[in-house]
Symmetry: none
Subunit: 185 residues, 4 copies
C-alpha cells in the first residue's frame, strides 16, 4: 500500500486485504503490523480495543470501496441491468486478479470473527446499506421502489452465493452469470 497513507490508514487497508484472504482468525496482528510497516505498539494507539476494533474499521473501509465500485459501474449505465452487468464484470475481474480467492470482504472479515453482537450488527448494517444503494440505482433508472428493493436483495444474495461457488471452482464464471440469473436468461 502507498507510503503516503497514514499509519492508521495503512493498518486498515492491509487488515482488510489480509482478513479477506484468510479470515479474522487466520491473520495475526503481527502480520498486519509488518505489512503496514507499523511498529508493534502502534496498533493499540490507533485502535484501543485491538484486533476487533481494527476489523470493524477494515469492514467499514471495504464497504466504502464496494460502494465506489457500484458507483463506477453505474456511471455510464444505459439502464439498471446494464449497470449491474458492468458491476458483476468489475467484481469478476477483481476476483480473477486475486488468484480466484478474494470474495466478499464483509463476510470474510465479520463472519469469521468471534460471535460478537457488534460484529453481527455491523455486518447487517453494511449488507443493508449496500442493498439500499443498489435499490437506489434501480429507482434512478425508473424502477418502482418495491421492485427495486426486491431486485437489489436478490442481486446481493446471488452475488454472495456466486462468490462462494467461484472460489470453490477457481473461476469467475459464476459472478459473470449473475445478471442472467437475476434478470432471466
Amino acid at each position: 500500500m502507498s507510503e503516503t497513507l497514514s499509519t492508521r490508514d495503512r493498518l486498515i487497508a492491509n487488515a482488510a486485504r489480509l482478513f479477506q484472504e484468510r479470515g479474522y482468525h487466520g491473520v495475526g496482528v503481527a502480520e498486519i503490523l509488518a505489512a503496514s510497516s507499523a511498529p508493534k505498539g502502534s496498533l493499540y494507539y490507533h485502535f484501543p480495543n485491538g484486533k476487533a476494533d481494527l476489523a470493524l474499521a477494515a469492514a467499514d473501509w471495504a464497504s466504502v470501496q464496494l460502494l465506489h465500485i457500484l458507483d463506477d459501474a453505474f456511471a455510464d449505465a444505459r439502464d439498471f441491468q446494464d449497470g449491474i452487468t458492468t458491476l458483476c464484470f468489475k467484481l469478476a475481474k477483481l476476483f480473477d486478479l486475486s488468484d480466484h480467492w478474494r470474495t466478499c470482504p464483509i463476510s470474510s472479515i465479520l463472519f469469521e470473527a468471534p460471535e460478537n453482537v457488534m460484529f453481527r450488527d455491523k455486518t447487517r448494517t453494511i449488507f443493508d446499506d449496500w442493498i439500499a444503494a443498489v435499490a437506489a440505482k434501480g429507482r434512478e433508472h425508473g424502477l418502482e421502489k418495491s421492485h427495486a428493493d426486491q431486485l437489489a436483495e436478490a442481486i446481493w444474495i446471488t452475488l454472495q452465493g456466486a462468490w462462494n461457488l467461484a472460489r470453490a471452482r477457481k473461476s469467475a464464471d459464476p459472478i459473470r452469470k449473475i445478471p442472467g440469473l437475476v434478470f432471466g436468461a
Copy 2:
C-alpha cells in the same frame, strides 16, 4: 454427542459443529477434544495429519448430512419445486435452532482453512456433488437434463447467499424465500 459413537466419530461430529460455528481457525483442537471427551493424543492416532485431516473428515461428514436432508425433503415431494421448498424449510428450521448462526458447513469449514489446494479441491467436489444430487432430483421429477443442471446450480448459489444474509439478519426468512427467487414469484 451420543456416547455410543466411537471416539473417531465423536471427534468428527463435534469438529463439524464447532467449525461450522466459528471456522477452522476459530476453534482449537483442545476444545474439540474436550467436547468429544477424548484425550489429547487420540486426535493424532485417528487423524495422523492432525487438525487439517479432521477438518477434511468433518467436511465429508457434513456433506453426507446435507445429502440426507435433501433425500428426506424429496421423500414425499409432489414435484421438484415442492421438494426444494421442503428442503429450504428444513434448512431454515435448522438455522433457527442454531441461534441463527450455523450456515453452510462446507463453506464454514473449508474456506477458513489455510489456503491449501486440498481444501479448495474438496470444497469444489462437495459443492459439485450436491449440485449434481439436486439436478438428479430434478430429472426424477421430469426435468430435462440441461434445465435441471441450471436450476440446481442456481439453487445452490441462492442458498449460499441466503445463508449469508440470514446470518447477518438473524432471520431464516431469506432461506425460506429461496423458492420464490428461483422459480419466480
Copy 3:
C-alpha cells in the same frame, strides 16, 4: 536392513544407526519402529524398559561391529602401525559414506542419553574393552604390555577427537591422519 533379521535385531540395528546420526533424544521410538517395519507395541515386548533398554542393546551391537572392523584391519597386518593405519582408513571410508556425519556410535548413543549411571558405566566398559582389544593387537605384534596399553589409549583418544573434527569439517582427513599423530610423523 535385511528382512531376514528378527524383529529384535532389526530394531537394534536401526536404532544404532539412527542414534548414531541424531543422538538418543534426537530419534523417536516411532521412527525406529517404522524403519524396522515393526508394530507399535513390539518394542516393549523385546525391550521391557523401552527406549533406554534398546539404546543399551544398540550400543553393545555397535561395539561388536567396531571390534569386527578392528579384527578385519589386523587380518593381514605386517605390524601394529600397519594394522592401525588400515583401521583408520576403514573408519574414514565409513565416515565418507555416511555424508561425513556418523562418528563414534558409542559416544553418539550413550553420551546423549539421560545422565544415567547405567549409561555411563556401559560407555566406560565398551571404551575400555575396545582399548584393551587394540592393546592386545599390539602385544600380538611384539609390543610390551605397558607400551601397548599406552598406545591403545592414545589411539582411542585421538580417534574420538579426530571424529569430532572430521564431522565439523565434513572431511575424513583428520581420521586418516591419526597414525601420523600417534606414531610420529
Copy 4:
C-alpha cells in the same frame, strides 16, 4: 546465574550450561526459561527463530569463554608447553567441578542439534577459531607457523578425545595427561 545479567544474557548462559549437560534435544525450552526466571514468550522476542537461534548464541558465548580460559592460561606462561599444561589443568578442574560430566560445550551444543547446515558450519568456524588461537599462542612463544598449526590441531583433537574418555571414566586424568601425549612423554 547472576540476576544482574539481562534476560537475554541469562537465557544464553543457562542454555549453554544445560545444553552442555544434556544436549540440544535433551533440554526443553521450558527448563531454560525456568532456570533463567524468564517468561515463556520472552525467548521468542530475543531469539525470533527460537531454540535453534538460542543454541547458536549459546555456542558463540561458550566459544568466547573457552578463548578466555586460553588467554588466562597463557598469561604467565614460560613457554608454549607450559601454557598448554596450565590450560589442561584449568579444563580438568572445571570438569571435576561439574560432576565429571561437562565436556566440550561446542560439541555438546551443536553436534546434537538437528542436522542443519548452519549448525555444522558454526561448529567448524568455532573449532577453527580455537585452533587458530592456540597456534597464535605457539607463534608468540617462538614456534614456526607450520609447526604451531600442526601442534594446535593435535592439541584440539586430543582435548576432544580426552574429554570423551574423561566423561566415560568419571576422571579428569585423561585431560591432565594431554601435554604428555602431545609433547612426548
